[in-house]
Symmetry: C2
Subunit: 252 residues, 2 copies
């Protein structure tokens, strides 16, 4: 049994805890949070501590806290030469103090606290300072049933940046779609099948091939009509910029 301590009680920490608890090759021996109140949901199931000096011995410490808090927790761990990883997309591995063996276990997904997640479809990006630690981290990924990617800190921060485009920015475009529907007196419901199909398409076709629309066709009449129709200046700017970018991509 691999003994794991989870540090953190947020979205990622909670989802990892829930998924790993079910594994018969892994034992979660403790959950840490500096605020005792956030440990309450865990208290009946597992040992908890709100003090770093109270941490028990384990094979792996997973720091799943906000990016800003990682370095400070890692710095204050009261032990040496143990395997300590964080779960962030953008924090370099070396932000974990070198007194310990360090690594990263980054699940590339958007987590919502109340929504169950299926780790079997979540890519896990692994990074590690010592080759021998790969075996331990691989065991965790296998327990989660996730696809495994070995990537460097530099690759990870670029993948995280790509994730901002496909996740945060796409969602904001959905928001703009919702606003346009609202001001037109049409239910947002009407756009949902299109949103699902747009995402589904790239499972079988590259986004480059899947592109359609007035910008791709270089259909200036429709583009002009659309920009006129938009009432919000920011929406006009976004429409123009993305249209130019699509036109550049397809040489229009």
């Amino acid at each position: 049994m691999l003994r794991i301590v989870i540090l953190g009680t947020g979205n990622v920490a909670t989802h990892l805890y829930t998924a790993l608890k079910k594994s018969d090759t892994i034992e979660i021996v403790q959950v840490y949070s500096r605020t005792p109140k956030s440990l309450l949901p865990f208290k009946n199931e597992v040992a908890t501590t709100s003090s770093l000096t109270g941490l028990v011995e384990a094979d792996l410490y997973i720091i799943a806290v906000s990016d800003d808090a990682i370095a400070s927790i890692a710095h204050n761990l009261p032990f040496n030469d143990r395997l300590v990883v964080h779960t962030s997309g953008s924090v370099p591995m070396i932000n974990i103090h070198k007194r310990n063996r360090r690594g990263v276990l980054y699940p590339l997904q958007t987590f919502t606290k109340k929504k169950a997640v299926d780790f079997s479809s979540i890519p896990i990006c692994l990074e590690f300072g010592h080759k021998k630690d790969f075996v331990i981290l691989e065991q965790v990924v296998r327990a989660l049933g996730s696809p495994l990617y070995k990537i460097t800190s530099d690759q990870r921060k670029r993948v995280h940046l790509a994730a901002v485009f496909v996740n945060n920015f796409s969602n904001h475009l959905y928001r703009i779609g919702h606003e346009i529907c609202d001001t037109s007196g049409v239910e947002f419901e009407i756009l949902k099948p299109l949103i699902q199909e747009t995402a589904a398409k790239i499972e079988t076709v590259t986004p480059y091939m899947a592109q359609t629309g007035p910008a791709k066709r270089g259909d200036e009449k429709t583009i002009e009509r659309h920009i006129d129709l938009l009432e919000n200046d920011m929406h006009k700017n976004i429409y123009s910029l993305l249209t130019t970018s699509i036109k550049n991509t397809y040489g229009k």
Copy 2:
């Protein structure tokens, strides 16, 4: 049996043909295309014509051709007072010549010629000049099994504009994600689950509530790092503009 003629042999025409052919309340009596060659796939199954004067009598004529060609075909139809609809998101209903009863049957979805479509999840937007024609158009929508929306020409062109944001523009963001992965030596595969989950989320949560990321948090340090990291100036501009728009939305 409702007798229908389909004018056009492109994506929308072909998908409508395939779906309606299966219905036992509808008979497709003819397919028209001005280019005889594009009628070849239909020849063994249904009567075809490449001349508007060769059109047979029917209860409904569906013009499913490119936006620019609709008015000219409608203008040259050699009959009066029959029900003629087009399938475009952005062409006004009145572009169909008023010699005939006119309407619109706009399926709000992105079609790929080779990919089968499930009309039961595709919203159909209906518009009609004569109230009595609703019964006929409703019968078509029921045969397709699609959700039905009655909307005006003005609403339709706004919904079509919203569709550009959630479909064309989101797909372009996927393309940018793909490019960033490529230049980082990471497979685009790694982003696919995130893309699916981002789309899936808005089935249960509004896009406003679903928003996450550095712009939403007002996390200037990460935003600056990301813009530095981007090598393509257009990508920098898109990142900055969408970040500003998200910040405005959440008062950051």
